[in-house]
Symmetry: C2
Subunit: 325 residues, 2 copies
Amino acid sequence: MATLADVARAAGVSKATASRALTRPEMVTEATRAKVRAAAASLGFQPNRSARALTTGRTGLIGLIVPTLANPFFSPLVLGAQRAAEEADAHLLISVSEADADREAALAARLGEQADGVVMVAPVGTDAALREHARQRPLILVDRRVGRLPAVVLDAEEGATRLADHLLELGHRDLAYISGPPGSWSDTHRRAALAERTAAAGARLHVRGPLPPTFDAGIAAASRLPAEATAVLGYNSYLTLGLLHGLRAAGRRVPDDLSVAAGDDLTAFAATDPPVTALALPVEEAGATAVRRLLDLCAGTGTRTTTRLAPRLEVRASTGPPGDR
Amino acid sequence: MATLADVARAAGVSKATASRALTRPEMVTEATRAKVRAAAASLGFQPNRSARALTTGRTGLIGLIVPTLANPFFSPLVLGAQRAAEEADAHLLISVSEADADREAALAARLGEQADGVVMVAPVGTDAALREHARQRPLILVDRRVGRLPAVVLDAEEGATRLADHLLELGHRDLAYISGPPGSWSDTHRRAALAERTAAAGARLHVRGPLPPTFDAGIAAASRLPAEATAVLGYNSYLTLGLLHGLRAAGRRVPDDLSVAAGDDLTAFAATDPPVTALALPVEEAGATAVRRLLDLCAGTGTRTTTRLAPRLEVRASTGPPGDR
DNA sequence: GACGCCCGGGGAACCGGTTTCAGAGAGCGG
DNA sequence: CCGCTCTCTGAAACCGGTTCCCCGGGCGTC
């Protein structure tokens, strides 16, 4: 409730000086600074962020657009972003696009109007649309790359490569990949890396899909796997859970009949039967990195680079050597 | 970029009239309203929210404090809150308390300073602390009640009662309850309702815990169940997943040897082996209701009541009649 | 000793809306 | 035809910070 004018009066200085003492300490003398700070502290002064935003044009708010929160993949991401924002005394405005390009664009515009910048996680809009957003305001992409726009990505190629190597080393020669939603950037790149690695090893990759990344889609996929595959990779955790469920219903044993692995990790994977081998993505770190880089961009010190974060392979019981069928 | 002054000039009216035409349409004539709206539209006018907030004292921001986002319980809650906020052209400031009372209090203060009101989900602070927050600014509690503070609760008693009835009807006479974190409001009430219902039916309730609501705690609990229990209820989904895992490791069959059920639901429960009977909580609705009621409070039309939302019992394969041991 | 420079601080403008207050004009009754 | 009231509009104050511009004083230098 105390205003800057109150602080100035209490400290016996002008509003201008009080403002400088608090936000530009190097511009006033040691003595003045101490007086003003003491007055501010004793009055419990909290600067009004709206007033500050009005003159500086900086709101201290960061927009975060995620496709969904129902997928536990995004929880740690939000947490990481949250922590990074807090460090910088900023707040997070979170919105859910529901993986709809129109909604995503509308949210980006709406948030951009109030926030200093926007982080878009796994956006579904076209390259052109994203470039346009980036022209309007500082923007960081997560899990998507568009030209030289600033981005933070979970290295899909690197992860897919590790997963492929794991299965190839176990002796698999026919891998199936259940692909994710059409147009998903990480899906496309993961699939390409898998194809390259299997081809290089003289093995074969059978692709099924694209499918929505849901439990039900996984169940359906279980009954349409290529007959020759001895290992199957699900695009993401939900799809893989459904797959596992469908396989069990069909009486197929994992990993004896078929190895199963997922393209991202989930706490529940340690609890399924059997526990599922998966790529643990450094999602929390991605969220934090994105926010830090966005704040840099807002401060004018940011760069137009892509930060790559490598996933960790969690080997669990769902993958093993191919059975003798 | 266009300001209200630009709109006023283009429409040939004063700033005051332009402002009224857009925010208080009933105060100007039809003709003026049309002129101003046309001018605003053609200039792409977007009112500056900081400026508006400065005079009105309303930021259009709502604070949402959740203990964690890693627990999928909260994802639909945020989604519901998000949708309700969007309807009212408000934005959500989300923060994670990590179930720490000090952090929670700090966040409430920090958010309250910038937001019009705060929604606290399953807060861990003391009643006194929460009352104090409610005195500072509009506050809605979710999944917690403190005196007559406005709240939205998932009806723990009602849910626990349905769960107890389900097991009692199956013929169970000795139920075990693995209790959640000490001091959890929903845990306390769920336990009380279970106790009452079992007692009324002439059956017995054996309580174990309290335990942290984690997968690992569930595993540990599996080896310390009361010998006479034929059915066990886990406080929440993670605890129950761990329980299931621990029971399987110990070679106990579900539901033949022991029925298992959980106090909240999780998509993954449909995929476990066997699928777990659980209470499906109307979490999304709770989030939406909380935000709507908070906005009412901010508008001065809110009430100090408690909204109760009843859970739905999802009967799955993990519960059945008691075996003959 | 005078001049110029640099530094710290004060007054006032400003950001972009909302709201108060007063005045102009129209409509109506006496 | 006058005067009153009611409605709509405009000028200006205001919200609470930040920043521009200018002034005064201390110090260094010639």
